[in-house]
C-alpha cells in the first residue's frame, strides 16, 4: 500500500468534503464562493484521485494496485478525512494545505 497514494486520496477526499453540501454549511470557506472555485476543486479532486491510483499501481502492479486502491486507499482516506472533519474542524483547512504539500514532497522524493 503506497503512502503517497493515501496522501493524494486524502487531499482529494478533503476537497470533495469542502465542496459537498455538508462541508459548505459546516466549514463555510469564503473562497469557495468565487466563480468556478467549486467546479475547479472538484476537477482537481478527480486528478488527485487518478494520481493516487497511478502511484498505487506503480507500487503494486495493475491488478493488486486497483484492488487495494478501491478496498484500502479510498476507504482509509475517507475515514481519516472523516476524523479530521468531525473532530478537528478548526484545523481542517491547515491540514488540507499541509497534506497537499506533504503529498507533493513525498511523491517527488519517492518517485523521482
Amino acid at each position: 500500500m503506497s503512502l503517497a497514494a493515501i496522501l493524494w486520496a486524502m487531499v482529494a477526499m478533503m476537497q470533495l468534503c469542502m465542496t459537498s453540501q455538508s462541508g459548505m454549511k459546516k466549514l463555510g470557506y469564503p473562497f469557495l464562493s468565487f466563480h468556478y472555485a467549486q467546479a475547479l476543486l472538484k476537477i482537481y479532486s478527480v486528478i488527485c484521485l487518478a494520481l493516487s491510483l497511478y502511484l498505487n499501481c506503480l507500487d503494486h502492479g495493475l491488478s493488486v494496485g486497483i484492488i487495494t486502491w478501491i478496498f484500502l486507499i479510498i476507504t482509509s482516506a475517507f475515514f481519516l478525512q472523516f476524523l479530521l472533519y468531525y473532530h478537528f474542524k478548526r484545523w481542517f483547512f491547515f491540514a488540507w494545505i499541509f497534506l497537499f504539500f506533504l503529498s507533493v514532497l513525498y511523491s517527488l522524493t519517492q518517485y523521482s
Partner: protein, 505 residues
Amino acid sequence: MQFRQIQATLHSWLGIVVLWSVFLIFFTGSIAYFRTEINLWSKPENFLYLKAPPSSFESAQVAYDYLNTHAPDAKRWRVSLASPRMPFNTLEWQDQNHKYYKLQDPNTGLILTEGRESLGGDFFFKLHYSLYPLPDVVGRTLVVIVGVLFLIALITGIFTHKKIIKDFFVFRSFKGQRTLLDLHNITGVVTLPFYLIMAFTGIMIFFYLLVPAGINKHYGENGIKKFYSEIQYINPPKSAANSALELKEFSVFSRQLPQQASNGAALEKFEVKNPNTAEALITFDYGYNQLITFNNPQFIFAANTGQNLNSERNLHPVAQISSATYGIHLGYYASQWMRGILAGLGLVGCIMLVAGALLWQKKRIKQQHTLSYNMVAYLNYFTFLGLPFATAMYFLANRILTASLEQRIQYELGIFFISWVGILFIPMLVKMQKAMVVALILTAVILWMTVFSPLVLAPQTFFFNTLRHQQWSVAGVDLVLMLIATGYIFACFYFKKIKMREVAK
C-alpha cells in the same frame, strides 16, 4: 408500491434475517486475516524457539531432509517455509492411515512437540466459511445462502439510499434514529465495493453448492476436484517414466531455482507427491506479490531425476476469473499493513450491521412489548456482544487450560460455545441497558486477563518479554487484545454519555 419502497422493504427484511449470520461471518473473517499470528500465539511453549528464520532455501533444505528421513513412504509432503510472519516450517504429510502436522525450527531442524493442542486462529477461519463444528457441506451451504441474501440486501440498500452522493460526508451525532441511519450509511457507502466484491467472491468460491447441475453434468457426481484441476492446468505435469526411485538431493532443485521470482517474491512452499516412487513430483511455489490470482510463479520437477517439467497454466479468462475470486477473497496479495486494514474494514462492516439492527429496533419502538421485538433485542445482544465475549473467553481458555490436558481442543471449543450461550443469562437477570454495559466490561476484563495471565502461569511468554525480544507476530496479538479491551471500556463511557443525553432531552 413504488420501486424504492419495494427496495426499502426488501432491504430491511432481508437485512434483519441475515444480519446476525453476516455479523458472525464478518467478525470471524476479520480475525482470520491474522490466523497465522494467532496460531503462533496460541502455542506459548514454542516462544522459546522464536528466532529470525534463515533464508527460504535453507529452511527448505532442512524440511526436505527431515521428511526424506522420517516420512520416505508418505503419499505426499507439503511444507510452508518459515518467514518473518511465521518463523517455523510447517510440515504436513500423509501416509496410508494418518495425516501429520508438525512445526519445525528451521534453524536446527528440531520438531516442536511441546506446543499445546489448540485450533488457534484456524478455528475462526473454519467458523467463517463452514460454521465449524457443523458438518462441512451443511455449514458451507448455509454460508453461501446467507451470502446470496446479503448480496441482495446490499444491492437493495443502494436503491433505498435516496441521497447516496449528497449525504456522502454527513454524520449527525447524538440525534437518535438519525445518528444510527447516518452511521449505517457512512460505514456502508464508502466500503460498499469491498462488501459487494467480498460477498460476490465468497459466493463464487462455493458456486458448486449453489448450482451443482453444471459441474455434475460435465464432470460427474463430486466432480469438483476434476474441475479445479482442469481450471488450473491445461496440461497437468506428469513425471517421465524412469527406473530411479529415490529422491534427488535438494541441491539438484535449488540450483535450478531463482532466489526471487519474476514478481519479486521469495520461495514460500514446496510439495512432493509420491516421494521415492517413479512418479515423484516436486513443486516449488513462490509468493503472491503483485498478484490477485493464484497464478504465482511455480517450478515443477520430476523429483527422482531433477528434470524441470513444463506445466502449462490455464490462462483462459474464465480460469483467471475463477482464480482471482479466491485471490481477492483470501487476500494473499496483502502485506501485514494491508491485512490490518482489510480486517478493519470487516469490523467497520460489523458496525454497519449493528447500526442497521438498532435502526430496525428504533423504528419499531412502539412494539417493544411484542415477542418479535424482544426476540430481535435478545438476538442482537447474543450476536453483537455475545460473540466478542465468547471470542475473548476462547483466548483466555487457551491461556489458562493446562497444556497437557486431554482433548484440549474440545474444552476450548466448549468454553467458546457455552460462554456465548451463557451470556444470554445477563439480560434475563438485569435490564437490557445494564446488561449491555456488563457485557462490555466483562469482555474488556477477560481480554486484559488473557494478556496478563502468563504473568502467573508462564512469565517467559508474557507480553513484555515477547516485545523485548522483538517477537512481533505474538506481541502484536497481545497488543491488539489490549487495544480492543481499552476500546470496550471507552464504548462503555460513550454508551453512558448517549444515555445521559437522552435523559437530558
